[in-house]
């Protein structure tokens, strides 16, 4: 069975704090892709990153970084020095052939 679990329903931080959003996935496939999307209050799902199962190298993009660990089936997302504009719901997703399997999302609130 394919499944994505985001155990953190909601996280609140104060601006400039670092925050990590957890994502754990289940799949029997050896080749798969993982994604993170951001959904601000406006509603649009914004693509952040795609990672394939053969590339465990961590990635950094500005204040965003991702830690992919196959041994623990996790693909965690860290925001460094959070800002109010980071407030959104963040979805982790697993690609299964032609479908995206989403986690239930983590709502991040960043307070000034």
């Amino acid at each position: 069975a394919q499944k994505v679990t985001q155990a953190q329903t909601e996280i609140s931080v104060v601006e400039k704090e670092d925050v990590t959003l957890d994502c754990v996935y289940e799949t029997r496939d050896t080749t798969y892709y993982l994604f993170w999307y951001k959904q601000p209050p406006s509603g649009e799902l914004v693509f952040l990153i795609r990672r394939n199962s053969f590339d465990e190298q961590n990635e950094i993009s500005g204040r965003y970084s991702w830690n992919f660990q196959k041994s623990t089936s996790s693909f965690n997302f860290t925001i460094t020095a959070s800002q109010v504009v980071d407030s959104a719901v963040y979805f982790c997703a697993l690609s299964n052939t032609d479908k995206l399997i989403f986690g239930t999302g983590t709502r991040l609130q960043v307070f000034p």
Partner: protein
């Protein structure tokens, strides 16, 4: 620079009154998807088109239909909206229907059913 456009952004309809939501894309992608997202839930795939080939999810109610007259446009028709159909409807596109391809989403249409 909008790539996936949805109209209208907000739609109000009455119980049982048919409604059509619109999606267009400037990416020339082969695949177009429709998702339903209810409050505090993950998006749920309703169906998708690969070119003109329609693919319905097994649990999508018959009340939901879709049309894709050309590459750029795709419509979601709700024949008889019920109160439970109030949700955000998201359109997405991808170049191909393979796991490697990223899906790009539009801003969504928030549907209210009175």
């Amino acid at each position: 620079d909008a790539m996936v456009i949805q109209n209208p952004r907000y739609q109000v309809t009455q119980f049982g009154k048919p409604v059509t939501l619109s999606c267009s894309q400037t990416l020339n992608h082969n695949v177009m998807y429709w998702y339903q997202q209810k409050s505090s839930q993950a998006p749920k795939l309703l169906f998708h088109y690969y070119d003109k080939d329609f693919n319905n999810e097994a649990d999508t109610p018959d009340n939901f239909q879709s049309r894709r007259p050309n590459t750029s446009f795709c419509f979601l028709d709700i024949r008889s909206p019920g109160l439970g159909d109030a949700a955000m409807y998201l359109c997405a596109t991808s170049r191909e229907r393979v796991q490697t391809d990223t899906q790009y989403f539009g801003p969504g249409t928030r549907l209210t059913v009175l």
